[in-house]
Symmetry: C2
DNA sequence: TATTGTTATACTCTATAACTATA
DNA sequence: TATAGTTATAGAGTATAACAATA
């Protein structure tokens, strides 16, 4: 799906990259956004609201992701005593281990995708995407 | 959905860009890949096989897209007399008009998304993405 | 036998709307 | 009344498998 338009070029590469990540994560049985959730939880306990914002998805999506993570005992949620409407979501030890696996998989995709780019080019790409 | 990993940055921007294009195309009632199909057909008549390759999708997806385009009389398909297994797919006049509309919508997204980029930066982005 | 296109079907991702419980 | 989270459900988008027509 090639084209000469920059928006389409970016969309195309993004879809390809996303598909590649999904494929890499597929081995773990976890979806793309579930993997992203693990990464956010690595920064510390979070409410579901904060996950909704960071993932940019509907609340119901976060519920489904957390159900999956709890089923696999990769994360836990418990009531926040300070506001019993909220949940405190946390990684378990198994979750931290799973995260390490996914980081390794991501590194492989990274190397594979950007193999033909110089150090300067990857820095440049990062800068430019930051402005988009 | 921010992150410091380049693969994730690219995936994120790609998904955002795709979503933005879908939204822009939404006004026409046509999907993203249907719009892409119109663009490919603008280059001249095509077989369904060639569309499959360029869109990078399953044959059944192309069938669905062409059913939609034919229903809206934006394209036609007819048997190729040289090989009666093949279809020759062509834009109609209405299809050409619809294409012009979508190009205009894409240009708007282009301007919006890359407003903060210099001429040099857009050229750089194009070059780098070409290597990914 | 291999290729082109079609159909039926199912799976993933995501959002909407109506709901419960807390504040 | 407003907010956090949940459920049920529906709609995209896409792939798989079995198929018919033609080469």
């Amino acid at each position: 799906m090639d084209t000469d338009r920059l928006v389409l070029l970016l969309a195309q590469h993004g879809m390809g990259t996303t598909a590649r990540i999904r494929q890499a994560f597929g081995a773990t049985g976890l979806s793309f956004k579930t993997g992203m959730t693990l990464m956010y939880l690595a920064e510390g306990p979070a409410s579901q609201q904060s996950l909704i914002e960071r993932l940019g998805v509907d609340p119901s999506v976060v519920v489904a992701i957390l159900n999956e993570l709890e089923r696999d005992t990769l994360a836990t949620r418990r009531r926040d005593p300070a506001d019993r409407r909220r949940h405190i979501v946390e990684l378990t030890e198994a979750g931290t281990a799973a995260l390490a696996t996914m980081e390794k998989l991501l590194s492989e995709v990274d190397r594979e995708l950007f193999a033909d780019l110089s150090e300067a080019e990857t820095a440049e790409l990062r800068t430019i995407l930051g402005k988009v």
